[in-house]
C-alpha cells in the first residue's frame, strides 16, 4: 500500500476514535479512497489486517456502498445529477456535453486522464437544476454552454500543469 504519510497518520488516529477497531472500517476506506482515488485489491486485506478482521469482512463493506470505487478514475470526478428535477431541465444533455468535450464514455477515464464523467442521484440542489459536482465543488444551472465552459477551464488548468 502506497499511502501518504499524512494518510497513515490519520488512519492510526481514527482507529482510536472507536470502542472496537471494526467500527473504523468505513473511515479507513474513505481515507484510502481520498488518498489513492479508489479501493484497490491490495487495500482490502491491508484494511482487514489493520483492524484485525478477515478480508471478506472488508470486502462486504466495499461492495455494499456504490461510492467506493474499485477502479482508478480520472484526475477529476464529474458527477452529473440525473434525478427528476435535473433530468427534466437537461441533466442528460449536460452529461453528454461533458462526454463529448473529453471524448469519453460514462464511467471511463478520459483519454487525457483528466476526468471521469458519471451520473449520480440527487445532489440536493433541485432549485438550481441541472447541477454537477466536480470533485467537491457544486456547479449550479449547468446547461450545455456552461458544461463546455467548465470543460475548457479544466483543459486549460491541465495545459498549465504540463
Amino acid at each position: 500500500m502506497n499511502l501518504k504519510p499524512a494518510t497513515l497518520a490519520q488512519i492510526d488516529d481514527v482507529i482510536t476514535h472507536y470502542p472496537v477497531k471494526r467500527s473504523a472500517t468505513l473511515p479507513l476506506l474513505h481515507l484510502i479512497q481520498e488518498d489513492v482515488g479508489h479501493i484497490s485489491d491490495e487495500a482490502i486485506p491491508w484494511v482487514a489486517d489493520k483492524l484485525g478482521l478477515q478480508p471478506i469482512n472488508v470486502y462486504e463493506v466495499v461492495t455494499f456502498y456504490p461510492m467506493f470505487r474499485r477502479q482508478p478514475i480520472g484526475r477529476r470526478h464529474i458527477k452529473v445529477c440525473r434525478t427528476l428535477s435535473c433530468a427534466l431541465v437537461g441533466g442528460y444533455k449536460t452529461c453528454e456535453a461533458f462526454q463529448q468535450e473529453f471524448d469519453t464514455g460514462l464511467g471511463e477515464i478520459s483519454p487525457d486522464g483528466e476526468v471521469t464523467v458519471e451520473f449520480v442521484e440527487c445532489l440536493a440542489s433541485c432549485g438550481t437544476a441541472p447541477v454537477v459536482l466536480i470533485d467537491d465543488d457544486l456547479h449550479e444551472k449547468v446547461d450545455v454552454a456552461k458544461a463546455q465552459q467548465l470543460s475548457a477551464q479544466i483543459k486549460s488548468e491541465a495545459a498549465k500543469r504540463r
Binding site: D41, Q54, P55, I56, N57, Y59, E60, T63, F64
Partner: protein, 563 residues
C-alpha cells in the same frame, strides 16, 4: 445444553398454553416445548442470532399493570389480568422469555406477516424444486406450503445469478436459490473459525461468495450444506445423486476419532449415498467433519475382502474356524485386538483371548486433534477395550513387544482383529515366522500373509456400540447389508471363542445379557435400552490413564498431562 439442576424458570403463555422454561430461552425454543411451530430460516440453535429472515414474527404482549399503583389491571369480561399486546409483530428468535410473556402465533397479524415474508423471499427464488436436490428437505418449500399465500403475484423478471459456483472442493453454490439467511457465514466464522464467506453487493444483487482467491475448504465445510435451509449450498458429492425421500435413515457413529460424533447414514437398496450429522448436544451439537462423511466410500472399495481363505485357498466359515482353532490350540497365541472394534466385539475378543490365556495387544492411532470434532485418538473405541477389560493400560502405536515375542519364539500364532500388523510395526520377517489368523474388511499385507482369512463387515454393515472419549456409550446400527462373502464380526468371534472353549452368543440381545452379567459397569444395560443419545459411563476407574486427547467440542481432558 446441559440444564443446571435448578434453572431459573420463567412462566410464559404461548397460544394460551402456560409453560415454565429456563431463563434465556427464546420464543422459538419455548414454543417448541408446547408443540407450537414458529417457522424460521436464519435462526439456528447453535449459532448467534441475527434476526435477518423475519420469518419467525410473532405477536407478543405483557400483563397489564396500572402505571401508578403497579396493581394488575383486570379484564372484567374474563376476570383475568389484561394483556397489553404490542401492535407490531416481533421476531421470535431474538425475543427471550420474560416472566408473564404472552405470545400469539395464530392471529391474522402473524399470518399476514408470514405470508408477506414468504412472498418477498420467493420474489427472486427460482421455483426449480423439481430439479433441486434440496427438495424434500427444504425449509422454503415446507414453509411456502405451510405459511405462504399459495399463489404468486410476481409478474416481473427474476434475478439471474451464478448457478454453480465452486465455493470449495466439496461445496457448490447455487446463488439464485440463496435466501441470504447467513447461517453459513456465521457457521464459518463461529464454529469452523474460518471466516471466508460473506455477502457482497446489496439489495437483490446480494450474492454469497468467498473472498477472491480463498476457498471454503476447511474440514467442516459440508456443515454449511446441512444448515442451508434451501438448496443454495449443495454437496458436490451428493448433488443430483438421489432424491432424499427415497433414502433410509440409519443412526450411526462416526469412527474417525474418539469423539464419536453422532451421524445418520442415508442409504437406498444397500447403497449408501451420504452421511450427515445427528444432533447430540453433549457430543457434536449438529456438526461433523467432512472427512468423516467420506468414510462410506470404503464400503464399496475395490480392496474389499470377499472370500474366506484358508492356506491360500477359498474356503468356508466352518473350515476357517476349525483351521483357526487348530492353530490356536497349539498354544503360543497372541491376539491383536482393535480400538476400532465395537464394545461387543472387544468383549468377545477378550473371551477368546482369555480362553487361550493369550496376551492381547491393541494398536493406538494418535494424530493431531483439531480442537473441534476430531480428537487426537483416531481409534473410536479404545475406552471400550478398557471398559470390557480387553486391555488394562493404553495401547502403544507399534507392536514392538509382540515383535520381540515373535523373535524370541514365544508367539507362533497371531490372531488379528482387523489390524494390519505390518502397518503396526511388525517386519515382513517377523510376519513370516507366525501363522496369522486375520479378520478384516480390506486387503492389506496382513490379509495377504494370513493363513486363515475371514472377511468381516464395515461399521455401516453391522450394529454395536462404541465408548467415546467422554466414556459415553453410544450405539450404531446396521445401515446396509455386507458384501457377499463377508461374515459379521460377532459371529466369527463367537465361533472362534466357542471353538477354543468359551461359549458366548453372537446375537446382540443375547450377548448383552452375558456382557451385563460379567462387566459391572455395564450391568444394568441391554443393547435395546441404550438411549440413542448415548449413556455416560463412570470414568473414574480410568482417571489415571494418560489419554491422548486434547480439548475438543464438549470435551476437556481430565488430567493436565493429557492436555
Amino acid at each position: 445444553m446441559i440444564a443446571s439442576p435448578k434453572p431459573d424458570l420463567v412462566t410464559v403463555n404461548i397460544d394460551g398454553k402456560e409453560i415454565a422454561v429456563p431463563k434465556g430461552t427464546n420464543v422459538i425454543e419455548a414454543a417448541r416445548l408446547v408443540n407450537v411451530d414458529v417457522p424460521y430460516y436464519c435462526y439456528h440453535p447453535k449459532l448467534t442470532i441475527v434476526g435477518n429472515c423475519r420469518m419467525c414474527l410473532i405477536e407478543m404482549g405483557m400483563p397489564a399493570v396500572d402505571p401508578a399503583t403497579k396493581a394488575p389491571v383486570m379484564d372484567p369480561a374474563t376476570g383475568k389480568q389484561k394483556v397489553n399486546w404490542i401492535p407490531r409483530p416481533q421476531i421470535g428468535c431474538g425475543t427471550n422469555v420474560s416472566p408473564g410473556l404472552h405470545v400469539r402465533t395464530t392471529t391474522p397479524m402473524v399470518r399476514e406477516a408470514r405470508e408477506g415474508v414468504m412472498e418477498f423471499l420467493l420474489i427472486n427464488h427460482p421455483l426449480d424444486c423439481p430439479i433441486c436436490y434440496q427438495a424434500g428437505e427444504c425449509k422454503l418449500q415446507e414453509q411456502a406450503t405451510g405459511y405462504g399465500r399459495g399463489y404468486s403475484r410476481f409478474v416481473e423478471e427474476k434475478n439471474v445469478k451464478p448457478k454453480r459456483t465452486q465455493l470449495g472442493p466439496r461445496v457448490t453454490l447455487d446463488d439464485e436459490r440463496c435466501i441470504l439467511c447467513s447461517r453459513c457465514i456465521r457457521f464459518s466464522k463461529e464454529i469452523a473459525k474460518d471466516d471466508v464467506l460473506g455477502f457482497i453487493d446489496r439489495g437483490s444483487y446480494s450474492t454469497l461468495t468467498c473472498y477472491p482467491g480463498k476457498q471454503l475448504e476447511n474440514n467442516y465445510s459440508l456443515c454449511t450444506v446441512d444448515i442451508c435451509p434451501v438448496g443454495a449450498l449443495t454437496s458436490t458429492d451428493f448433488r443430483f445423486k438421489m432424491r432424499v425421500w427415497f433414502l433410509k435413515q440409519t443412526n450411526s457413529i462416526d469412527t474417525e476419532s474418539s469423539v464419536g460424533a453422532n451421524t445418520v447414514v442415508w442409504s437406498r437398496e444397500g447403497v449408501i449415498y451420504r452421511i450427515t450429522p445427528r444432533r447430540n448436544d453433549a457430543v457434536n451439537d449438529t456438526w461433523m467433519s467432512d472427512s468423516a462423511r467420506l468414510l462410506y466410500k470404503q464400503v464399496k472399495a475395490d480392496s474389499r475382502l470377499q472370500a474366506i481363505r484358508v492356506n491360500g485357498a477359498d474356503s468356508g466359515l466352518d473350515m476357517a474356524v476349525n483351521a483357526a482353532a487348530t492353530l490356536c490350540r497349539a498354544g503360543s497365541v497372541a491376539v491383536v485386538g482393535s480400538g476400532r472394534s465395537s464394545v461387543e466385539e472387544q468383549f468377545l475378543t477378550k473371551k477368546f483371548a482369555a480362553a487361550l490365556q493369550a496376551p492381547v495387544f491393541l494398536v493406538s492411532r494418535v494424530g493431531e486433534g483439531d480442537r473441534l470434532l476430531i480428537s487426537a485418538d483416531r481409534n473410536p473405541n479404545v475406552r471400550g477395550a478398557l471398559v470390557t477389560g480387553l486391555i488394562r493400560s493404553l495401547p502403544a502405536a507399534r507392536l514392538t513387544e509382540l515383535g520381540a515375542a515373535i523373535d524370541a519364539g514365544r508367539v507362533k500364532t497371531v490372531v488379528s482383529i482387523g489390524e494390519d500388523l505390518v502397518a503396526a510395526g511388525l517386519s515382513a520377517a517377523q510376519l513370516s515366522k507366525v501363522a496369522v489368523v486375520y479378520l478384516g474388511t480390506h486387503a492389506n499385507p496382513t490379509s495377504a500373509a494370513a493363513k486363515v482369512l475371514v472377511p468381516t463387515l464395515a461399521v455401516f454393515e453391522r450394529s454395536g456400540s462404541f465408548v467415546n472419549q467422554q466414556f459415553r456409550l453410544q450405539k450404531f446400527h446396521q445401515a446396509v447389508p455386507g458384501p457377499p462373502g463377508a461374515t459379521e464380526d460377532l459371529v466369527v468371534l463367537s465361533r472362534l471363542a466357542t471353538a477354543v472353549g468359551a461359549a458366548v452368543p453372537a446375537e446382540l440381545g443375547q450377548l448383552w445379557k452375558t456382557i451385563a452379567a460379567e462387566i459391572p459397569a455395564l450391568g444394568t444395560m441391554t443393547f435395546a435400552n441404550l438411549p440413542e443419545a448415548g449413556l455416560l459411563l463412570d470414568a473414574t476407574p480410568y482417571a489415571a490413564l494418560p489419554f491422548a486427547e486434547g480439548e475438543t467440542l464438549h470435551y476437556k481432558p481430565a488430567s493436565p498431562a493429557a492436555a
